[in-house]
Symmetry: C2
Subunit: 428 residues, 2 copies
């Protein structure tokens, strides 16, 4: 997770975001200001009511998200157009009282959370921020090897208080989708409540336009579920805690010293080049068992060093996605490792991408339905038609297709003309 | 704070620690197991008692520290001597219900916290860990330019549940000390309660010996208080969010283009070399006001670029601790910046070190007392003598001098022979 956080930091810092840390607890007064927001979260928040033996005069909420902690501060920080755009983010834990069955990484009550918040002069500038979020998500998910579909959530499912919300969903091997990111346009909905104003060049006081972008430990849930085979986990190299494991192999005790010496040299060279590498020199375990041990844990590359490699001055790699040895001269170690990482990354990305593509079907009739995967459906825009469809399919509306330019067809429920496409799936 | 965290990470990872993230909330059952520990924290913990509209069946504690969250897991993770030493750490927020007046960074209720936890086969191995903590603290505080004194806390002031505690205190400009780190030897005190056992080579089941090491945002409190002058903050280069600021200077609009071009080149070269740098190209503010702006914020180095520098292909630096310009050829930019950082770091460290040294006095009589600073006093070992001394001086015992080899003198309170030295100070 920390490696994912660091990739995220890299993308955000590059785009002039600054990292902050706001408090976990929020007073009832601040939390209660935005009515829609509260309605959305009220049943889910944890309350701190007692400290030591005393009841607190003012009970505190454990943040379910940080709008209500941050925005009173934004109102103090922002004075003029020179203070805009304000672009900040934080990695924190948030708390949601889930009454449904919990599930590791996917539905938990204390959530490792990423949230970016921005303020802008006007709607257009905020819309440009949304575009930037798309770039960040594209770049990041490519490194995590997670292809997704992005849809605009229907109005009844948007973030509480948002003007609109966009969800990013991956397709899990079970055929159900999992939301891994979301992006929200708030317009002036929060700034009017928290009184976040700036003075423009003409000297007028205006409310800022705001956006947010969130992700969570669900990214790990998606990675673990999607990147695997019969031998276990396959970790994308960019985030693997151990990127390479070196397994020394020798038959005679005489060979051991030389093999371990070379293994250590290789380890050192990889470390100098900022790879995360482990040398498994345990004596009580056979090489075969070591292979199995590290494969299960998803380590992307294995290096085997035996007397042959020492003698020939070569490196033998085995990719986590294959079984055969790939041999190169010792001096090409770093270069070859990079190539193999890139290959493995493409392999697991492409496999997931194909799985997603093959499981999106455009549905024009409700006959011969498959039970899982994602459906694309024409829809007239009426909530009642969507609800009926959800019931018939036993699925949820993910959202509306973005940039839809298809020619008009008919709403699958009511037959009225429609050029809006929605996506439906069973969801986690 | 994040830069300090990263320096800490670097020291810990180098010594085979692994980073973890444990939950914020702890059940009453886990929290209540170690009796001394609870006694120490019971009056300070926040309780989560409600979620949505429901009262929780099992109220939850917001962690005041993480022993009681981690150790039930350690009991599952550790099986044999091959699992030892276990060395982990985390950066999290902890919560303590302070009834005293709060003070930014120094006494707060939600604390940005670092905690390392280790398990070992025996007492000796745990003692070696304590030695390693000393190395880490020495290396880290040198980068933060924070000289300290380390003392063994008296028994009545050790961490609740510890066998012994060592405190690391800095001397603030007010003459009061601030604890910035602590290290604890737990022996088997917690492992016996949380049943953390391992099987040794002989096949016997033994309790592990444990240690911890903690720091907090007080590090920032110390840095801000100690490193300053009449112009404001002076940040140690290793942690300054902005390490260098470039201020372009030009009289005529004609010169502007060329000056800004060179300023941008310099910025880029610094960034490539991993410096944190800002170019202040604001038009509405004069260079003089920019100097003032960045000085107040503690930026360690300023680069001034005007037509002269452009023409002569030189760089003009001004150190935050000085006023005069230091000029070097443009091609020596990186090298010179590193030298100046190192100089500045030594300057502010030495200044703080001298201040600390000059304010530790060995006290042999209670006449002519200064009101502030640190006193070294011979003490017989009886709590009542220490209490009397605390009352007379209006100070607290910090702790016992480590490695004390002085020849025997007399307890300042009762005149009994003593070769134990304690330190006293007013404390935050």
């Amino acid at each position: 997770m920390l490696n994912i956080d660091n990739l995220t930091r890299f993308e955000l810092n590059k785009r002039s975001f600054e990292e902050v840390l706001f408090p976990t607890v929020i007073t009832k007064e601040f939390f209660g200001k935005e009515k829609e927001h509260i309605k959305g979260f009220d049943s889910q928040v944890y309350w701190v009511t007692k400290a030591g033996e005393s009841l607190l005069e003012k009970p505190l909420v454990l943040r379910p998200t940080s709008e209500t902690a941050m925005y009173p501060m934004f109102a103090l920080w922002i004075r003029s157009h020179a203070d805009l755009p304000l672009k900040i983010y934080q990695f924190v834990n948030v708390y949601r009282y889930e009454t449904k069955q919990t599930r590791s990484f996917i539905r938990v009550r204390e959530i490792h959370f990423f949230e970016a918040h921005t303020c802008h002069e006007n709607y257009d500038s905020a819309e440009k921020q949304i575009t930037e979020y798309f770039e960040i998500i594209k770049s990041l998910t490519r490194k995590l090897c997670l292809p997704y579909i992005a849809t605009k959530r229907p109005d009844w499912d948007k973030f509480p208080g948002a003007f609109y919300s966009i969800g990013f969903d991956v397709l899990m091997p079970t055929g159900k989708t999992l939301q891994i990111a979301s992006v929200h346009q708030y317009k002036e909905n929060f700034s009017m409540v928290y009184n976040i104003k700036y003075e423009n060049i003409a000297g007028e006081h205006k409310y800022v336009h705001q956006t947010t972008f969130g992700m969570s430990e669900r990214l790990i849930g998606a990675i673990i579920s999607i990147h695997k085979d019969e031998r276990g986990l396959i970790l994308p190299p960019e985030i693997a805690p151990t990127q390479l494991v070196i397994v020394p192999i020798f038959v005679k005790e005489l060979e051991a010293k030389e093999v371990l010496k070379v293994a250590n040299e290789i380890k050192q060279e990889l470390e100098v080049n900022r790879f995360r590498v482990k040398l498994d020199d345990r004596k009580e375990i056979t090489p075969g068992n070591k292979f199995y041990y590290w494969e299960r844990r998803g380590v992307p590359l294995r290096i085997e060093i035996g007397p042959n490699e020492v003698k020939a001055k070569t490196i033998s790699f085995v990719k986590r996605t294959g079984k055969s040895r790939i041999v190169c001269p010792k001096e090409e170690l770093i270069e070859k490792a990079k190539i193999l990482f890139s290959q493995l990354q493409n392999e697991i990305y492409d496999r997931a991408k194909n799985f997603l593509k093959n499981n999106i079907k455009t549905l024009r009739s409700l006959k011969n339905l498959k039970k899982l995967g994602i459906y694309r459906v024409f829809w007239c825009g009426k909530r009642i038609c969507a609800l009926e469809l959800e019931n018939k399919l036993g699925m949820n509306v993910l959202g509306l297709e973005l940039d839809s330019h298809e020619k008009e067809e008919k709403c699958i429920t009511c037959n009225e003309p429609s050029n809006t496409v929605i996506y439906l799936a069973k969801t986690y």
